[in-house]
Structure formats: structure tokens, C-alpha cells
């Protein structure tokens, strides 16, 4: 496991500014002080200080000292933290995360990182198992007493899924693999195995009893959301919150595999119409809604996707200034742009602009206004735009299975993406004529089939199929099996007459009046306090 044992032939042997070569066993003083303090804060359960060191010091040190080299090896720092097993696993997890972010990991490192996650999560899995060895319970003791920041716990789950995705992409690029790499891949066929990944996330979710906790919270028997998942009665938040974030992890993995239905099912225990622990970390909030919205888009539940994209984009717009210094800032901006692209797709297929807040709408018009107009046209150019936006904004789909090593080595890292894109464009094509129908329905309250058929230059029987397609495509089947209308303009056919009904959501006045009453009362109160001379 020693970092010293790695082969740094991939340019990792690089040195800081061409000066001292990287020596994994050399621990500079700032690092010494960092691990000593972090270790102490963890033992003292000082979440605030842990968070500061984790969010700020770690990145500052990385920027200053480890811009293009890994951190010192865990073996080298272990002596400063009483060789604490759990702390060493956590340190190693950060060590790999930093390596993935700044350098390109070798195959050996990818596999070792997987092993590290196994040790890390295994410990937590053993938490509540009946029989553990004495050695393990020492470890358990350490874990049970830990209270880690949500940000850190989220990053662990997030990174775990990211490294899985990255491994699948890496493995699928078979063309340039050396014989040693292939031998190593075959030898470690369990590393980043899709079932292993899913089982870890599932196990964390189950062992943490998070679903029951959320259920009981609804009845007031349990506090979880109210305390942001932290435990103020001396317990640990680690397993509970890891289990919670694992549900988001499962959603993401299933989306990467193209299994949108299962993905959404995994997220069901979290009520995304409300704030929750998932909104307490911006990265988790964005990941959740991005995948939730994407899955709904693929399932043709456009209204649901539009609603949630709108909410999160508004939220990001209002709060992004507070994240400017965060290491996640770039990621936030990227996902923000991607979600605008997805919203553009949704609104082009289902023009429910009234669901979109004015602020979001003006951003949207600025970014994609012109493209959106062209996307309504359904010619070759508009297909190219759907293709472009989808490719830019979709998740990095993966093929989870290992290649057949006997056959000639070909790259298959694009296969999964190409399939999802193709099926999506297929759907777009099926909806080809709907926007034409829509333009006509907009200007008529009644029109005969015959007349509309003439305008659209199709025969009457074709028009009937187009109208039925409109109905089918604008009415999706919800998770509960009920039919949901996504139509902005609806109609029905009475023999050979089309009657158009524009669904107007009645304006909600109640809330407006309540606000004004409270406001007026405040004004009157202010006036009463002013004494006129």
C-alpha cells in the first residue's frame, strides 16, 4: 500500500518547480502540524474545526506544496497520529482524492484506492454486526465516537462514485493498454466491479437504517433533518449521513448505467420538495437535482424536470456568490450551465415557460434563447442542436462490464453515451410534428380536422395519428401509475371538430393578500411609533 511502492512512470515522478523530487516519506512541518491538529479535532469531536481544516487548510496546503505531486504517504504521517487505523484510512482517502484531482492515477493506484474504500466502508459496515473481533472493536470505538462534517461525508460518497465512473471509462479505452495493464485488470477483476459498488452503497443505506429514521422523523419520533444529520447526544453521525448520501450515490450510479427508473426509486425516501440534509451541502444538492431532473427528462416527465431545474437554478443564482472561494466553485458553475442546457431541452419539448421563474427565464434567454427558437423548428439543424445540448449536459454514461480480453482490443468508452444519445434523439424525432400542431392550436379555439389537415399538408387520417401522438407524448405515466398531463395547450376531438383548451392555472391570490396584510400592519405599526412634533 505504501505510496513509496508506486511506479511513478506516468510523469508522477515530477518535482515541484523542477526542484526537489517527490519523496513520499518526507513530511514537511506544515503537514505534520495539519495531521496532528486534524487528528486532535476529530478525537475531540470539534466539527467546526474539522470542517475548517478539511475545507480550507487541506486545499491551501495542496495549492502551496502539492500542486503537482501527491501528499506524503500515509506510512510517513502515521507516527504523528498514534498510528490510528481509522485516521489513516481517512487520510488515504483524501490522499487519493487529491491525486485524482491533480494528477492522473495509474491503474495500480486506482485499484489501491478501491481497496482503501473497501477497508473504510467495511469498518462502518461492521459497526452493528454482532460479532467483531477485539481488534475491530478498537477501530469501532474510534468510528462510533466520530462526528465528521457533512461536507466531508458527502465528498466520500461523491468521490467513490466518481472513481467508479472514471475506472469504467479508463478500462473501456482498451486500445492503448499494455500487456501488464491487461494482466493487472484480469488479476483484479473485483476492483470497481459494478455489483461491488452498488452493494457498498446499498449496505451503507441499509446498515444506517436511514430509511426508518426518515420515516420516524415524519412522526416526530426522531430528529435527523432538524439537526442536519449531526448527533448532539454524544453519538456519531458518520454511518447515518453516509447511508443518507448513499441514496444520492445510487441515483447517480443508476443514471450512469441508463437505469433511470431504478435511480429515482432509490431516491424516494428523500422528499425533494422539502429542504433536507441533501441541501446542507451544495455539491450534494446539485448532484441530487441534476440527476433527478435528468432521469425525469429521459422518462418524459418534463414538467417535473422543469420544476426542479427551475428551483435549483434560482437557488444557485441567488447563492453562488457565497461559494466563490469554495473548491467546488468551478463544479457548481459547470453543473449550472449543464442544467440550463437540460432546461432548454425540456422547454423545447414541453414549452411550459410559466413554470420558470423570471430570473431563471432571463438567464435562459440570454444563454440559449436563440438556440431554443431554432430547436422548435424540427429540421436537421434543430436535431443537431438537441444533439449538441444533450452531449454537453448528459452524465458520463458508462459500460460497467469488463471487456473480453481475448477479442481484438477496441475502445468502447463511447458506447453507452452513444446509445443514450441515439435513443434520446429518437424520442425527439417522434415528437417532430408536435410543435407544428402546437402553433396551430395556439391560435384556434375550434378548428375542423379537415381544415387543420389542409394547413399542415397531411391527410386527415395522418392528422388523427399526429393528434393522438400529441396526447400520448404530453401525458406521462407517473411513478404511481396515474396519468399526468404535461400539456400546456390541450384539446379534445368531438367527431371531426377539434376544441382547444388552454390550461390556465388560476392565479393564487391568497398568499399575495396575506403578505400585503402583514406588510400593511407593519407600516401602520411604524407610523404609530412616529411621534409628530
Amino acid at each position: 500500500m505504501a505510496a513509496a511502492g508506486y511506479d511513478y512512470e506516468d510523469g508522477l515522478q515530477s518535482s515541484v518547480d523542477g526542484g526537489i523530487p517527490y519523496d513520499p516519506s518526507f513530511v514537511p512541518d506544515p503537514v505534520k502540524s495539519f495531521v496532528v491538529h486534524l487528528y486532535r479535532h476529530i478525537r475531540e469531536k470539534n466539527v467546526y474545526e474539522i470542517h475548517q481544516m478539511y475545507e480550507t487548510s487541506f486545499h491551501t496546503l495542496s495549492d502551496r506544496m502539492f500542486k503537482d505531486t501527491p501528499w506524503p504517504s500515509v506510512e510517513a504521517v502515521a507516527q504523528y497520529v498514534d498510528n490510528d487505523h481509522v485516521f489513516c484510512l481517512l487520510y488515504r482517502e483524501m490522499w487519493y482524492r487529491h491525486l485524482y484531482a491533480r494528477l492522473s492515477p495509474t491503474l495500480k493506484q486506482r485499484i489501491d484506492s478501491w481497496d482503501n474504500y473497501c477497508s473504510l466502508f467495511q469498518i462502518r459496515n461492521n459497526l452493528f454486526s454482532v460479532s467483531f473481533t477485539t481488534e475491530a472493536s478498537v477501530v469501532l470505538h474510534g468510528v462510533v465516537n466520530m462526528q465528521l462534517p457533512n461536507q466531508w461525508l458527502w465528498d466520500m460518497v461523491d468521490e467513490f462514485v466518481y472513481q467508479f465512473q472514471s475506472f469504467c471509462q479508463y478500462r473501456a479505452k482498451m486500445k492503448n493498454k499494455t500487456e501488464q495493464e491487461i494482466a493487472l485488470l484480469r488479476q483484479h477483476d473485483q476492483a470497481w466491479n459494478v455489483y461491488g459498488v452498488l452493494n457498498f452503497l446499498q449496505a451503507l443505506m441499509e446498515k444506517s437504517s436511514i430509511i426508518q429514521i426518515l420515516e420516524q422523523e415524519k412522526e416526530g419520533l426522531e430528529q435527523f433533518t432538524a439537526t442536519d444529520g449531526y448527533d448532539y447526544s454524544g453519538g456519531s453521525n458518520v454511518l447515518k449521513v453516509l447511508g443518507y448520501f448513499s441514496m444520492v450515490g445510487l441515483l447517480r450510479v443508476h443514471c450512469l448505467l441508463g437505469d433511470y427508473q431504478t435511480g429515482l426509486k432509490c431516491l424516494l425516501p428523500i422528499d425533494i420538495s422539502q429542504q433536507g440534509v441533501y441541501t446542507s451541502v451544495i455539491g450534494s444538492h446539485i448532484t441530487t437535482i441534476y440527476h433527478y431532473g435528468f432521469a425525469n427528462l429521459m422518462l418524459r416527465r418534463y414538467v417535473e424536470a422543469i420544476r426542479e431545474f427551475n428551483k435549483i437554478l434560482l437557488y444557485i443564482y441567488k447563492t453562488k456568490q457565497y461559494h466563490q472561494k469554495s473548491p467546488q466553485y468551478e463544479q457548481i458553475l459547470k453543473k449550472n450551465e449543464q442544467m440550463y442546457a437540460l432546461l432548454t431541452i425540456c422547454l423545447s419539448l414541453c414549452p411550459q415557460v410559466k413554470l420558470v421563474d423570471e430570473t431563471v427565464n432571463s438567464q435562459l434567454r440570454e444563454k440559449y434563447g436563440e438556440k431554443m427558437l431554432r430547436m422548435q423548428r424540427y429540421d436537421d439543424e434543430s436535431f443537431a442542436l438537441y444533439d449538441e445540448l444533450f452531449s454537453y449536459a448528459c452524465p458520463k454514461f458508462i459500460t460497467p462490464s469488463a471487456p473480453s480480453y481475448e477479442e481484438p482490443l477496441v475502445n468502447y468508452n463511447q458506447d453507452a453515451y452513444r446509445l443514450q444519445l441515439k435513443l434520446f434523439l429518437y424520442e425527439v424525432k417522434q415528437q417532430q410534428q408536435l410543435s407544428v400542431v402546437r402553433t396551430f392550436l395556439k391560435v384556434y379555439s375550434t378548428i375542423s380536422l379537415e381544415k387543420l389537415a389542409t394547413y399542415m399538408e397531411v391527410d386527415e387520417s395522418t392528422l388523427r395519428t399526429i393528434l393522438m401522438t400529441y396526447k400520448h407524448k404530453t401525458h406521462s405515466v407517473g411513478a404511481d401509475g396515474k396519468t399526468i398531463s404535461n400539456a400546456d395547450i390541450d384539446f379534445y376531438i368531438d367527431d371531426d371538430l377539434i376544441r382547444v383548451v388552454e390550461s390556465k392555472t388560476p392565479k393564487q391570490y391568497g398568499d399575495y393578500f396575506l403578505r400585503q396584510i402583514v406588510k400593511l400592519e407593519a407600516v401602520i405599526g411604524d407610523m404609530d411609533r412616529i411621534k409628530l412634533e
Binding site: Y195, L257, D496, P506
Partner: protein
């Protein structure tokens, strides 16, 4: 039959619930699917996947078929029989029922191996018709469910008795069928979301009212 099947379904669902990501349960699942399609002599391996897809098609208007396609590698989808299926699904998705039935007639042997296939598609057709029409010409129904003459009479009679269809005399152009009202073909039935104010909002003005 019903009882045995539901017992089986129960165990399989339990199996999946306990081992959602365990490849070792695959043989059990395959057995389950085989029993579901109640095939006895058919050569399974080659057609099993196809048969599952036919079943997915039967779930229309639910998107089960597209969900399956998202998960099936493209090279498998390039297979001739898959292509037929994709074409069939395309006709259903775009309500081209005439073309659908013509195409389906060419794959009779498979369709006959999936019990209830025809009936399931007819139900989907009726679903789409009910979303679209208040009053629909009999000829349009005939095309959508692929029936005529006596069998169509029976079909319509059945729906008159069970689903509230009403047959009207057309004005010289043949029969009209009035479909039961729902919020999609009678949009005015849509529950207008009245302006309801939750109690906790009212509490905001309690001090004012007091």
C-alpha cells in the same frame, strides 16, 4: 393459476428486495420470467430477451419499453428481430395503429407465444383514444384495435356494458361512439386547483386579526 403465480411473484420480489445487486439470483429471475411467459416448448435462450421486450411493449402507455432499450447494448439492438420490435414500438409511440397491426401480423409466431399481447395493445389504443376523443367515429376505433364486422360489434358492446361507451347514430356518415368523460377529453373536469390557503399561512395574520 392466479394463486400460484402470485406466490411466485412474492418470493421473487422478496429475492430482489434482499439482493438488489447480487448477480447470483439471475438464474432464479430467469426461471421466473420463463414461467411468466408460460412457455413450454419454445427455444428459450435466443428469444427470452425478445419476449421480455414484447411484454414491455404490452405495458404501454408506461415507458417500460424505452426503459429496456436504455439498458440493452446497441450491438444487440442491431439484431433483425430487435429492429422489428423497435419499429413496432415506434408505431405505438406515434399512434400509427394501422401500420402497427400490419407489421405485427408478420411476426405472428412471436406474438402468439406471448399470451394477451393483442389485448394489451388494444387496451393501449383505447387509452389513447380516450385521452383524445369525446366522440369518435367507429371507423377510427376499428383501425386502432384492428377489428371489424362482428368482432368489432362485440368489442364495442363489451365497452358499452363495462366502460360507459355510448353508441350514437351518426349523421349519415356511420356510427359515432361517445367515450366516457375524463379530465383529459373533458379538460373542464380537471380539478381547478382552487385557491387553498394552508392554516400555517393564516397564522401569520393572527396577530393582526387579534
Amino acid at each position: 393459476m392466479g394463486r400460484e403465480q402470485s406466490q411466485m411473484a412474492y418470493t421473487v420480489e422478496q429475492l430482489v428486495a434482499v439482493n438488489p445487486y447480487n448477480p447470483d439470483i439471475l438464474p432464479d429471475l430467469e426461471t421466473y420470467v420463463n414461467e411468466q411467459v408460460s412457455l413450454q416448448t419454445y427455444s428459450l435462450d435466443a428469444n427470452l430477451c425478445l419476449l421480455r421486450l414484447y411484454q414491455a411493449l404490452m405495458a404501454m402507455p408506461a415507458p417500460d419499453f424505452s426503459l429496456c432499450l436504455f439498458l440493452i447494448p446497441e450491438r444487440v439492438q442491431m439484431d433483425e428481430q430487435f429492429k422489428t420490435l423497435i419499429v413496432l414500438s415506434h408505431y405505438l409511440e406515434t399512434a400509427k395503429f394501422r401500420q402497427f397491426w400490419d407489421e405485427a401480423a408478420k411476426s405472428r409466431h412471436i406474438l402468439e407465444a406471448v399470451p394477451g399481447f393483442e389485448k394489451a395493445i388494444q387496451e393501449y389504443a383505447v387509452h389513447v383514444l380516450s385521452l383524445t376523443y369525446q366522440k369518435v367515429p367507429r371507423s377510427v376505433i376499428a383501425e386502432a384495435v384492428n377489428m371489424e364486422g362482428l368482432s368489432l360489434d362485440k368489442f364495442v358492446e363489451h365497452h358499452v356494458a363495462n366502460s360507459g361507451w355510448i353508441v350514437e347514430k351518426g349523421q349519415g356518415k356511420g356510427q359515432l361512439v361517445s367515450l366516457p368523460r375524463n379530465e383529459f377529453n373533458h379538460p373542464e373536469l380537471k380539478r381547478s386547483s382552487a385557491d387553498i390557503i394552508p392554516l400555517d399561512h393564516i397564522t401569520r395574520i393572527f396577530p393582526v386579526l387579534g
